[in-house]
Amino acid sequence: MNSLSDNALMLKVKSGEVDKLGLLYERYKKMLLGFFFKMNHDLEASEDLVQNVFVRILKYKHTFTGSGKFSTWMYHLARNMYYDQYRKNKKESKNVGVDSVSYKLADDNSIEIQIDDNEQQLQLKRALQELHPEKRELLILSRYQDMKYQEIAEVTGMSEGAVRVKIHRTLKELKEIYFTLENTHHGY
């Protein structure tokens, strides 16, 4: 089966064969959507972010050297995109005193359009949203994006050891938040 590597495809995009970006899109669209969706729990905003990642890939294609992995380079762009949006939303929502308007986990059913969650999963999602975005990001990259710790370290600018220790702490924090939310929910 003829399957070019991600790097080979991206180098082709860089040299002008932009249609090859379609293949990279097909390979990564679900992972990227999952990354953004788990970060912000807003399907529409996540789809826009996926789209913008690929627009940015085209814009900055000249900076891709092929020396590192394509996915690492792509996640660099993706998280920059997310944090730009996050800061923008935070700034906009400052006046109403809410941490983030678009990135809240809504109590209405909007995010459960396609996923039929049980109560525990919903609680877990709420707990995830309570985490600081940088901690949440570490859990998402390690648990859902199939990334090695070395890659996560490269993307986030931390050492590999620090990534593992932070994930450890964040998992503990997540559990604490989960139980606090559960106790609040049951009126303790």
Binding site: E26, F37, R164, H168
Partner: protein, 268 residues
Amino acid sequence: MDTNKIKELMIDYLSETLAEDEKRAFENFLQEHPKHQKEFDNLSSSWNALGSLETPEPRQEMDATFYSMLNDYSKKGSRRSPFSLNSFFDPVVTFFTQNNKQWLYRVAMLVIGLGLGYFFKANTQTNVSPQMALQETQKVRESLVLTLLEQPAANKRMQALDETNKLEQANETIVIALLKTLNNDTNVNVRLAAIESLLLFADDPVVREGIVQSIVHQDSPIVQVTIAKVLVALQEEGSAAAIKKLLEKEDLDSSVREELEKSVKSLL
């Protein structure tokens, strides 16, 4: 053992990155240290719970937006800046270097230009009905499309496909020329634009049948995926069989194969 090292090992264990012997050694360590075992069990339950969260599937709208963005970008890339020095000198260079076909094109353009000028001038002087005027414009435009489609320069052929957007309807000659472009043009962007142009006339069964038959002849992944998406949208008879035929090719890209298999499922 250093506390941080234990934490790192717990995470490595959970993410299954430890080798078999390391794994066993760590399990033994936990059995000997109940405090750490308890901590590990807690982490493990959170880690497993996270694994139960699902991710939504990308919607077709997202694909459509992406491919339309990519198509626009490709189109822009194939157009030259109207202010570049090259665009000023190129006609001079090509004047001396192009083959006879180019001359024919220039003559045809001149004749069409004169024809249009004559037609519009005549239109102001005589009582030509609006219906007749439309028919004449349509004829001139059809000739322009057919002439431009024969040009060696890809941007001229793209211009032809842009012109088809202005056609009220497509006669058999135009449809055949568009299908020929879709099947044989050497430029991927032109082939993609041909799909767009053909879709304008998708109510014609010949067009739909032509698109179905075309997928087997395509070698570009983006064109293959685009046609497959079009076929899903059109739900034309025979589409699934045509895609299956393409799937028989061994040198298909794995991502394209995946996409095509999805399309077949939606068509069955």
